[in-house]
């Protein structure tokens, strides 16, 4: 059954891929067995991250670079992430509006995704989805992050090349690309170069890069007008150059190690959350809370004991409804 789905996906079945992505989002436990088998068919795609403030042109740039990649004969998978409303749990996923021409191209697969409360600018399902699109045979996978502020920097751990897009005219320009997010760009794009303030922003970014960069790769700063396709070819050339640098310097392997590490941490967290919720569901938590409130036990000792019980139960495959003291 799992192998059947894997086979469908590696044979290019878009529906099977789409359904597996949904399963990853909704019920990871059921997806896990399939993902295990899928893993052998992954590792071939290059992953490009497109990030930057809301409205800076991430989707438009993604659309335009995809068109050139298609002319070069490459297939493309796109994961477009938008935020989930913390109040209603709903989301309006509108990145496809800028990618309308791509929807009938069989060499392109686009999936819109919401963060579902996950912090960091990506969704929990992003890394598994990269693998699914990779197994589906896509040569290049582009991840468009949510519109970022200063702490949404997870993309750096998932993508091989990170393109940081900003635009002039957002008030205090540099404020937007300051702090954390400045460090994650491998390529800087000043989009909307048709607008006033482009030169000044470019100069400021160049200056900050001169002060800050300390690796062998000095991020280039490019100007684009994505809506008019201006500067997009050059952007792709720079992406190519960066990938080449990654391969030659050995940094590609290093980045993929970081990516694997992040995934392990995320998966462990996910699994522990699940164990904890089973434990809460079983009314187990209440017993301990009672003891603590009655001062029969302090919370520190309780958690210490609990951790060892949980680890033990997990390795035994189930969590029992009582605790041996």
């Amino acid at each position: 059954m799992e192998m059947e789905i894997v086979e469908k996906i590696t044979n290019g079945d878009r529906r099977a891929a789409a359904k597996l992505i949904t399963l990853v989002e909704n019920n990871f436990n059921q997806a896990r067995e399939i993902l295990k088998k899928l893993y052998n068919y992954t590792g071939n795609a290059l992953v490009i991250g497109i990030t930057g403030p809301p409205g800076s042109g991430k989707s438009t740039v993604t659309d335009k670079i995809t068109k050139i990649l298609r002319e070069q004969g490459k297939t493309v998978g796109i994961i477009a992430i938008d935020p989930t409303s913390p109040f209603t749990g709903g989301a309006l996923l509108g990145d496809r509006i800028r990618m309308q021409d791509l929807s009938l191209d069989k060499g392109v697969f686009i999936r819109s995704m919401s963060t579902r409360g996950h912090l960091g600018g990506l969704s929990q399902a992003t890394q598994a989805t990269v693998k699914i699109l990779d197994a589906l045979g896509k040569d290049i996978i582009i991840i468009e992050t949510v519109g970022v502020g200063q702490s949404e920097v997870d993309i750096v751990k998932v993508a091989d090349t990170v393109v940081l897009i900003s635009m002039p005219g957002m008030g205090d320009d540099v404020q937007i690309i300051k702090a954390g997010i400045m460090e994650i760009g491998d390529i800087f794009v000043i989009n909307k170069a048709d607008k006033e303030g482009c030169e000044r922003l470019t100069t400021e970014v160049e200056m900050m890069l001169d002060l800050n960069h300390n690796s062998r790769w000095r991020p280039p700063v490019l100007k684009t007008i994505a809506t008019d396709n201006v500067g997009i070819k050059k952007l792709l050339e720079e992406i190519d150059r960066h990938i080449k640098y990654l391969k030659e310097s050995g940094e590609l392997e290093q980045r993929r190690r970081e990516s694997a590490k992040k995934e392990i941490f995320d998966l462990i967290q996910g699994q522990w959350k699940e164990i904890l919720s089973t434990f809460v569901d079983n009314g187990f938590l209440n017993k301990i809370v009672n003891k603590i409130v009655k001062r029969e036990e302090d919370p520190y000792t309780a958690v210490e004991k609990l951790s060892s019980v949980l680890v033990h139960s997990y390795t035994q495959g189930d969590i029992k409804n009582d605790r041996k003291d």
Partner: protein
């Protein structure tokens, strides 16, 4: 990462430029906790069906105010059938005369919502159809 979310594609087929209603519905569904994919104006039925496949939506919501529904709605249903897709609920809305509704229901559009519809009714309808 757990738990099902209802995913809805709101699409405007054809050349009709009236998008207020589609946006009102998209926002209402989002506020009801659904994940709404909005693709913008001027979509062909082919684009709509392909998008629905890639996004693995539970519901396709079509919006037309121009009068082209008698042609475009059945075309979408036809393409779904060609692709062996039977698990997507299709609904429609906009300026649709009463007398056209039975024909649209016959081809498989499960709900039609005309001007003045309270969006709560749309939300309720979707929640009942998508289990």
């Amino acid at each position: 990462m757990e738990g099902k979310k209802i995913r809805v594609l709101i699409a405007k087929p054809g050349l009709d430029g009236h998008d207020r209603g589609a946006k009102v519905v998209a926002r209402a569904l989002r506020d009801a906790g659904m994940e709404v994919i909005y693709t913008g104006l001027r979509q062909t039925p082919e684009q709509i069906v392909e998008t629905a496949i890639q996004e693995d939506v539970d519901v396709i919501g079509l919006s037309i105010l121009s009068g082209a529904h008698t042609h475009l709605f059945p075309k979408v249903m036809e393409l779904l059938k060609e692709n062996n897709i039977e698990d997507i609920v299709v609904i429609g809305g906009g300026v649709i005369p009463e007398e056209d509704i039975p024909e649209l229901k016959k081809v498989g559009i499960e709900g039609i919502f005309t001007p003045g519809t309270d969006t709560h009714d749309i939300i309720k309808f979707i929640r009942e159809k998508v289990k």
